[in-house]
Symmetry: C2
Subunit: 441 residues, 2 copies
């Protein structure tokens, strides 16, 4: 067996500690796949006073990125701090000093990917980032390598474990959003500040990365329409269930008439289909390729050891040289990648509307008339008798309609006298069909 | 871009034609991932008189393996003929002449893998075989590379598209086995001779390959207990549904008390779980790793273009050098791999029994007494009144019990006076639970 390879780990939070543990506890298994032992030479942390429960001598933990960047015995920098700074500067320091980089920081890649990848290329180094998207699910390798012969038609994914935990728990326990968010925080599935998870930012950043891999274009994540799950309530879930659907936070990128449509939004997904049956903190990705048809992947998208598993797989790929090959041949995040203009590209699909109306004669005619004038036809409608004063929810499932037309109709509906309060509008996914037919023969 | 790389394709059947088509039709996409163009220099076929509908000039199609093995301009041999001979001799000829090999032939690998891999190693060449198992699902890469940091605990898969098509169609249409097999043959999902698919051989050979990747041991496929789907009938399916299950042909390899248990068998799988909801010719694989938890993959396991997609991904991996690295570092199919003795290793699990009994007093006491004496306890039992003369099915779901004990009890039950005909016994899978808890923290 060759000489051991030495890596430096930046950040000993949940994932960083998991990586150090996995490298120590599964050392033989990992050496068998890497052809040599992988040793953690040093870890760098922000707060040196915090006790660390990792199998690493305390004199191997220090406070400066230069302790790793400046150590020529270290060949791989494993960057496991979140946020943009100092993560960005650290990545630059690692690449400048000739280290390959492995990272799980999706915000860093979504924000500074092209710049960092250009630097890596200039320095002849690689950046591996399987753990940045969908944790333990090997979706980066699947799209970048395994589906390389395919023209990807669409990607649909549940990419944020926290919001999926919240939605599926609300559904199963009948509890409201605030209560379940608190539970998720207690269980460690949600951060103290869960904003980036529940407002869709995390999923959107991951989608930007996946879309680059799949479609070869670069879409700044801020250009992607994004809606979070904060406004989802039990009533919406119950009506969705009445139509046979569950609500999930779904990230979509799909070819539509030669352009790319992208979106992150709470979405109605047909019960019984794989995305709808994705529960707890699991992630799931469905990809359609022109040759391979529909592929579906499901696994833990977050958590200490699932993410560490993906990070260590990337370290192995880097050590054996596969990462360098992939990086070199596929032009990953090449700054010259064409930028896709996704503004105005719409997926015609069904919509689920909840409109709070006063229960009086003529209201249904008024609402349906407005929808009709905008070219939107109604597939089904539910309005239950409540016996209570005040507005009642009118719930409508439309046939396929343009999102712009639906938005236009809702703007008009919002100012009707009979409408009291804010309407909800969710897109509907119901096309999980075997793609076998058009692919065979 | 580098010089084009030239490949030779052996066999222009369904998959071979698909590979030639995909290499031609997606040439730009493929070149982007391979860093160079990939050209089919030559194809070799058995029957030169048969018309071939492939984008390849007829002077590039010939009849002898030496036309490829002897051509120094060709660096990769893509072996897409089935069966053992002449496939084995062809693989040897390709390796001897210094070609890397890509193949989809699982029987060849299951039977002659160690020998061929040793030859490849001696010659400094690689053998890539993603397409040999689960078609378009990148399960070989997932286990061999993406989950490399994990100790794999279990693999459960639906690995044969033909038998899954038959079972799920029987279930949905209520048609009997023979009628659906005929339909599968008409649709091209079953061969004229479907024996290897429906008797479990194909799934067993694939399981032997997956188990090698996951557990590092070599189990001759003939040592793996194998039951086919030929005896599955509508009555069994209906009773399974009454208990909340579907019947699928499931291949299992799992660690049990430090040893490996393996089996291919029609199995009751809880409705609503991912394996149970795998329909038509789809394949699915569920893997549990100690770090990553439970991963699930679903996709088309057979068919022309899904399989071609996996073959071309392997060609790209070979061309860019990733295949060689994986081959070299992981000791794939090393003839010195420890052999696992799986005989007698049992998974304690629930069993589903159908016993044809005469409807007369004392029968239930006799059957349940026999089961009890063998240490098997009954979880639930169904016996419907038929109002007809002759035996009626007594259907029993046991609690967890050793398969040997169940077999012993059934041998004794078979000779009871009241038992008229052959009993059926299927294992039951109902442990699809999120593995998150023991993996976190």
């Amino acid at each position: 067996m060759s000489e051991p390879v030495r890596v430096g780990v930046i950040g000993l939070g949940t994932v960083g500690s998991g990586v150090v543990r996995l490298l120590a506890e599964s050392a033989d298994q990992i050496a068998r796949h890497a052809g040599r032992r992988i040793l953690v030479e040093r870890a760098v942390v922000k707060d040196l006073t915090k006790p660390r429960h990792v199998p690493l001598a305390s004199d191997r933990i220090s406070g400066e990125i230069t302790d790793i960047a400046g150590d020529d015995s270290i060949s791989v920098g494993v960057l496991l701090v979140g946020g943009l700074e100092p993560a960005r500067s650290m990545a630059v320091a690692l690449l400048e000093s000739g280290k390959d980089v492995v990272t799980a920081n999706k915000a860093l890649l979504a924000e500074h990917g092209p710049e960092l990848f250009a630097l890596a290329r200039a320095k002849g180094r690689s950046i591996a980032f399987e753990a940045a998207v969908a944790g333990g699910i090997p979706i980066v390798a699947a799209i970048g390598e395994c589906l390389a012969a395919n023209r990807i038609e669409s990607i649909r994914g549940i990419l944020n474990g926290t919001s999926n935990f919240i939605l599926s728990t609300m559904e199963e326990e009948g509890a409201d959003y605030a209560a379940v968010l608190k539970l998720a925080q207690q269980k460690g599935f949600a951060e103290a500040d869960p904003a980036m998870d529940v407002d869709g930012t995390d999923a959107t950043q991951k989608l930007a990365i996946l879309a680059h891999l799949a479609f070869g274009v670069w879409v700044p994540w801020r250009d992607i329409p994004q809606t979070g799950i904060e406004a989802i309530d039990q009533e919406l879930m119950a009506f969705a269930a009445e139509f046979g659907y569950r609500i999930r936070l779904v990230a979509v990128a799909a070819r539509v008439n030669g352009r790319l449509a992208m979106r992150v939004s709470p979405t109605l997904v047909k019960a019984g289909t794989p995305l709808a049956e994705t529960r707890e903190a699991y992630n799931a990705v469905s990809i359609v390729g022109d040759a391979v048809g529909r592929m579906f992947f499901h696994g833990l998208g977050a958590g200490q050891m699932p993410t560490a598993s993906a990070v260590v797989a990337d370290i192995i790929d880097t050590v054996v040289g596969r990462a360098a090959i992939t990086f070199r041949t596929t032009g990953l995040l090449d700054p010259d990648s064409p930028a896709a203009r996704i503004a105005g590209v719409e997926m015609p699909e069904r919509h689920f509307l909840r409109i709070p109306v006063l229960d009086r004669p003529g209201v249904m005619a008024e609402i349906s008339g407005t929808l009709g004038r905008h070219g939107i036809s109604i597939a089904s409608l539910i309005q239950h008798e409540t016996g209570m004063p005040g507005p009642v929810p009118m719930v409508i499932m439309t046939h396929h309609a343009s999102p712009a037309a639906v938005a236009g109709a809702l703007t008009e509906i919002a100012v009707c006298d009979a409408v009291q309060g804010t309407s909800a509008c969710l897109p509907v996914l119901d096309d999980w069909q075997p793609a076998a037919e058009h692919l065979e023969g």
